[in-house]
Amino acid sequence: MSQQAQTLVDKVWDRHIVSEQPDRPSMIYIDLHLIHEVTSPQAFAALEERGLKLRQPERTVATMDHSTPTDPRRLEVLDGQSRKQLDLLRRNCEKYGVTLYGLGHNRNGIVHVIGPELGLTQPGMTIVCGDSHTSTHGAFGALAFGIGTTEVSHVLATQCLLQHRPKSFEVRVDGELPEGVGAKDIALAIIAEIGTDGGTGHVFEFRGSAIEALSMEGRMTLCNMSIEAGARAGLVAPDEKTFAYLEGRDFAPKGAAWQAAVADWRSLSTDEGATFSRSLTLDASKLAPMITFGTNPGMGQAIDKDLPRPEDLGSDQAAAELQKALDYMGLESGKALLGHPVDVVFIGSCTNSRISDLREAAEIFKGRQVAEGVRTLVVPGSQDIKRQAEAEGLDAVFRAAGAEWREPGCSMCIAMNGDQLSPGQYAVSTSNRNFEGRQGRGGRTFLASPRTAAAAAIKGCVTDPRTVKAG
């Protein structure tokens, strides 16, 4: 290994090189492979076709999340195709010896929520999943990224992937976040700044005092959204908060191994003097609650700003794209978004379904009612979170306000399980994608933080959360 000053990404990368050949991508080892029902069937079929074994069943962990109903009746409302996918995952896990936290398991949940929760996600690891939000696990100082189904089959068969060393992109956020502004707002601000392809070919390293000040949940929210800026991964150097979060979790090292692990993990940070391919600096104290108004996550701005005008944009193509997005969204350029009516509020997804997100939302719901005509779904990210929230009485707060308290799953983030918008409906959503039809065909999504979503639910319209005090 080189003596040169290295970035965190390079350190993790170097630990995982299995083989390097001229004119070939590096072959890197994968420590943890997470799988779910939607992107694994064809990968197992590829093993089957070639008569291959699963190389490391104990490094492979499965869950069911994308198409699982969040209706408490669960299995009764499962559609036939989804049932087939779930059954197939169960059979594949049995056949190949993979641990499955399936529907009905008391640790089931969204793949990127349960990995950290179980202590499977650890600093310095390489983690992949057939899912682009695998970047979430970077919050622990792991190099974690989404892969396609063909690559899923590569990892199943060899525990390795062919990859080029990614370039690193420093995202420095210093200063103190104002009241009412959180990790989701930082993420949306970054994407608004650099666009949905600003990070293409790179891995983000988030650093600076505002990142250090974030909770592990906040860091997960931020890393989760890396892919929305085009970066396959985003990570944060592990620190005391990381270790405190992991200690004692099911799969975290124990005893002497824990001591050894922490000692090793402390070396996982970017060396003084290491260079990044690119850098971006944000001042946390200048950030405001953010919301998207368009049809990709880069079309976002401070919630109290007027909508942009196509005629103010530099190029014709950009103006045309903005106009198309505004047309789809049924919005008028130059107008305020504040006060825009909302039909549905969704609080959930691997971006914002953790206990801190639910607490944040509950503070606003407490003692208040969801506005008439607004459907509000609160979907915890996992069974663990659901239990914790119920122990804290958060479910009672949501229910008393008139919100639906659901079973865990991806739910309206991807609208595969029956939770979806109707054409034309507006939602304020804590998920990560506002693409056309993402939350249901013809549905219109405003992405925002849990606080902003909760404020919209009680007011019935897009609302600045800074104007709604905790109940």
């Binding site: 299995v18 083989s19 004119d23 070939r24 072959m27 080892y29 939607v38 992107t39 069937p41 064809q42 079929a45 590829a46 070639r50 291959l52 994308h66 559609d79 195709q81 087939k84 996918q85 057939g130 899912d131 682009s132 989404g146 892969i147 396609g148 189904t149 063909t150 690559e151 089959s153 590569h154 068969a157 060899t158 525990q159 390795c160 062919l162 080029h164 666009g195 949905t196 392809d197 293409t200 070919g201 085009g230 396959r232 090292p253 191994a257 824990w258 692990a261 990709n296 880069g298 193509q317 198309k324 609208a415 595969m416 054409p423 994608r433 693409f435 056309e436 039809g437 993402r438 065909r441």
Partner: protein
Amino acid sequence: MEALKSLTAQALVVHRDNIDTDQIIPARFLKVTDKAGLGDALFADWRYAEDGTPKADFVLNQPWAKGRKILVAGQNFGSGSSREHAPWALLGYGFRAVLARSFADIFRNNALKNGVLPVALGEAEHGKVLAALAANRDEALTVDLEACAVSLGGERIASFEVDAFARHCLLNGLDQLGYLLHFEADIARYEAERSQRAY
């Protein structure tokens, strides 16, 4: 994977930036357990009305559009999810190459592994292709992977870059799993070293 050396074919233009994988194939079509038949779901929400009837104004529904093998799009094609159903749908429809200003990382990887060639063009070259197709929508393009070049009417108008190994695999119709399996001894050695670690 079907090899691709050089492709001369007519093209279709969907001139939008940031065409995400949810547009290429909406999530409700991901409930399948195989790869076949997804061509009908390609661009489903742009292509069909709610009741399933084709929308008259969408380019894929034009009678002349049938059988086209090259798709021309804008910037950042394939952003969003890692669903390999996106290249499966493109391939299912019959597309073997996508010409765009740029591609999202995961989509590019997925496309190459399925015999769909992502060709990133500079602004001027992309403009030339668009202008030629605007003048004559039936103009054939040649995408030559051996020469890494795009030509129009016999004239070379652009060169492009592809990862050397992905190119090798696509030229020869090889998949990468066979290559990876070849390194069994290296993997075993890595795993043995790894097991020495104190945690």
